[in-house]
């Protein structure tokens, strides 16, 4: 485990920001911390990145105590803050150069790393421009680039795609995947469920400072007892067919929305909805269209907390 947290707690005055959580983050994975604003994600990663000291509990990086040995850990850690943490009056190149210098990079080695990182983040043609002239997406990319310069073992990304256009977001997600393919461990926090679903091999769902569920996406979905929903529209009334629909294997419940429109809740694995659709089509009763809504982390969160991720 690259990161192991045991009963980790952080209290600010009377406010308990993180309430005795346990984390186990294996090397080489992208691990998501999912939760609404104020769930404790940023405080958790601030403790991992040595910014905050835990009030209690243990936090280990590669078996070493983060609180006791921050000097050993810092060179192996890359941190992408939620905000754009760059000197706006410096060029992109200067930002990379000076922050790289803080990690002891210099000379040819530093130049090579800047070239490599700027290629990864796709900003090499604008490096000589001042950061204040960059678009929001470009700033986000260089914000990530600065954290990659020293080739850390673990990179912590705190909502790195907030407030940017879809193209830049996709580029950042591709970058995260690429870094992971190169062997880097990534802790990725977001309240965008789609990003976590697209990237993370395992997920910790947090709310009110606690981890309320964890595991792979499949494990979380199955733990939460969420099901696939199939919405079907017909060109005739289906009232008289509802009884036959209920007899189909893996159909759990049927809701007739209008005379010609029904929603079917399916149980079982990914193939069950295919069988249900195939069965209904073979009845030849005028199926016009259908769509399948698979259970996702949003629904898992909704089920666990009774509210949405962005509420």
């Amino acid at each position: 485990m690259i990161i192991k947290a045991e009963n980790l707690k952080k209290v600010f005055g009377n406010f308990v920001a993180v309430d005795g959580i346990n984390l186990e983050i294996p090397s080489g994975q992208i691990v998501g911390l999912l939760g609404p604003n104020g769930a404790g994600k940023s405080t958790t990663i601030s403790m991992i990145s040595t910014l905050y000291k835990p009030t209690s509990g243990r936090l280990l990086f590669d078996g070493k105590d983060i609180v006791k040995e921050p000097k050993w850990i810092k060179p192996h850690l890359g941190y992408v803050p939620q905000e754009i943490a760059l000197y706006q009056t410096l060029t992109g190149y200067e930002n990379l150069k000076y922050f790289g210098g803080l990690y002891g990079l210099k000379g040819v080695e530093l130049k090579k790393r800047i070239a490599s990182v700027s290629e990864i983040i796709g900003i090499d043609d604008r490096l000589k421009d001042k950061v204040e002239q960059y678009s929001g997406g470009m700033k986000r990319r260089i914000n990530i680039g600065v954290a990659l310069l020293h080739n850390p073992k673990l990179i912590i990304m705190d909502e790195p795609t907030v407030g940017i256009d879809p193209q830049s977001r996709n580029h950042i997600l591709d970058t995260v995947k690429l870094l992971n393919e190169q062997g880097m461990t990534v802790i990725y926090t977001s309240h965008y469920m789609e990003e976590v679903e697209a990237l993370c091999q395992s997920v910790y769902i947090m709310d009110h400072g606690k981890v309320i569920a964890s595991g792979t996406q499949e494990e979380l979905i199955s733990q939460s007892d969420s099901h696939t929903a199939i919405h079907m529209t017909f060109d005739v009334s289906v009232k008289e067919y509802l009884a036959r629909f209920k007899e189909i294997k893996n159909v759990m419940a049927i809701t007739q929305n209008t005379e010609m429109d029904v929603s079917i809740l399916a149980s079982g694995n990914g193939n069950s909805q295919k069988e249900i659709i195939h069965e209904i089509m073979s009845m030849d009763i005028g199926l016009v269209s259908f769509d399948v809504t698979k259970p996702n982390l949003e629904q898992v969160f909704l089920k666990l907390t009774g509210r949405g991720l962005r509420d």
Binding site: S49, K53, Y79, A85, F99, G101, L102, Y103
Partner: protein
């Protein structure tokens, strides 16, 4: 550490306009004050010579030629009117037989000013010189009377006077070497130095304060988190900020020393090294004081509001805007002792104007060093507690 220093030095470019304004302002203010109160300005005084002797005429000559006063001879009543109308800084009345009577020399003035203060010091010196001559003559007469040698008193006094003035300066057994720089400018030279040094010490503090306060800007733009996550320690960060604060202070000091010499004609003389040394020590105090003030506030806006009040107040109390010699209020003079400005100004002025490097100079240096260490400890501890609170 080097990486951080390079970054901070590069970021100083962002404050270039501020630094230029501060240098420009100190040049401008030194020029304005120096020219109005020093420079070509010549103080006028009314002089009433009731003695009409050789001694009195020599005093008048000295006031005019050596000390740069514009002396107007007039009657006592006319002199009082001139003083009341503030046409002259003071009226000097040389009473009849002033070197023998209790009345001596009187100074009539409405209030103490820097010029009248200097005038009284000059006259004090003249009177002391005459007292020495009279005293010496009297002792010689006593000795000659005791030995039944007859000497004409007036002839003796004249002889002693001539010997005292002409020969003793070069043949005296104990020498007090005292050099007065730019003596031809008289009174104005001291004020020129005072305002150049005073304005430099005053304006340099703003540059230092905002450079040290850059740590607050790092917090605002979130780069502080990035720095804290990096291998750079908090102590490295403080050191880098203090270094850049001192660097800009020293640059500004050197610019002002050069400007003083080439723009305002100030001759820093043989003590240029001491001036720069004391100036650098003062900059050290102001840098550590800035750290302490920065530790008290949370944002650059708070610093921007607080620092002019503190820095202007300290500059005024410390004598940057006017010489402390004209201040008569004891509480104000007592408070001035708590400002680094007072100690730096006094040591630099002592060296440049009066050519004096004595115990007072080293006391000033010591006080400045203690202040620098004290503020450094206070600032560092405050920053440490602040970071604990944040954590």
């Amino acid at each position: 550490m080097w990486g951080l220093l390079k970054l901070k030095v590069r970021l100083m470019k962002d404050y270039m306009v501020l630094y230029l304004i501060m240098i420009g302002m100190s040049l401008f203010m030194a020029g304005i004050f120096g020219n109005t109160m020093g420079g070509n300005y010549v103080a006028t005084l009314a002089l009433v010579d009731l003695d009409q002797s050789i001694e009195s005429s020599e005093i008048i000559t000295n006031l005019t030629s050596e000390h740069g006063f514009n002396v107007k001879l007039m009657s006592y009543d006319e002199a009082l009117v001139e003083v009341e109308n503030r046409n002259v800084i003071s009226a000097v009345v040389i009473n009849n037989d002033f070197n023998q009577s209790e009345k001596g020399i009187e100074i009539v003035q409405i209030r103490e000013t820097v010029e009248s203060f200097q005038l009284s010091r000059i006259l004090q010196s003249e009177v002391e010189q005459l007292n020495n001559i009279v005293s010496l003559s009297d002792r010689i007469l006593e000795v000659s009377d005791a030995n039944n040698v007859s000497i004409e008193p007036n002839a003796l006094r004249s002889s002693v006077r001539t010997t005292y003035l002409d020969h003793w300066e070069s043949k005296k057994p104990i020498s007090l070497i005292r050099s007065v720089h730019n003596a031809s400018s008289g009174l104005s030279a001291g004020l020129g130095v005072h305002y150049t040094v005073g304005m430099t010490l005053f304006f340099v503090t703003y540059s230092i304060m905002f450079t040290v306060g850059d740590i607050l800007e790092d917090k605002r733009i979130h780069t502080l988190d990035r720095l804290l996550v990096s291998p750079a320690t908090r102590r490295n960060m403080l050191t880098a900020n203090l270094f850049t604060g001192m660097l800009i202070g020293v640059i500004q000091l050197v610019v002002m020393v050069l400007s003083g010499q080439f723009l305002f004609g100030i001759s820093w003389g043989e003590h240029i090294g001491l001036v720069l040394g004391i100036g650098t020590l003062y900059i050290g105090v102001m840098t550590t004081l800035s750290l302490f003030i920065v530790s008290l506030v949370k944002t650059m806006a708070q610093l921007g509001s607080l620092s002019p009040i503190i820095l202007t107040g300290m500059g005024m109390l410390g004598g940057c805007m006017w010489p402390l010699e004209i201040i008569t209020s004891k509480p104000l003079l007592m408070l001035a002792n708590f400002t680094p400005h007072k100690w730096a100004l006094s040591a630099i002025e002592g060296a440049v104007i009066y050519g004096r490097i004595d115990q007072n100079t080293w006391i000033s240096v010591g006080v400045l060093a203690v202040m620098a260490i004290g503020y450094l400890i206070l600032g560092e501890r405050m920053m440490y507690f602040k970071s604990l609170k944040q954590n």
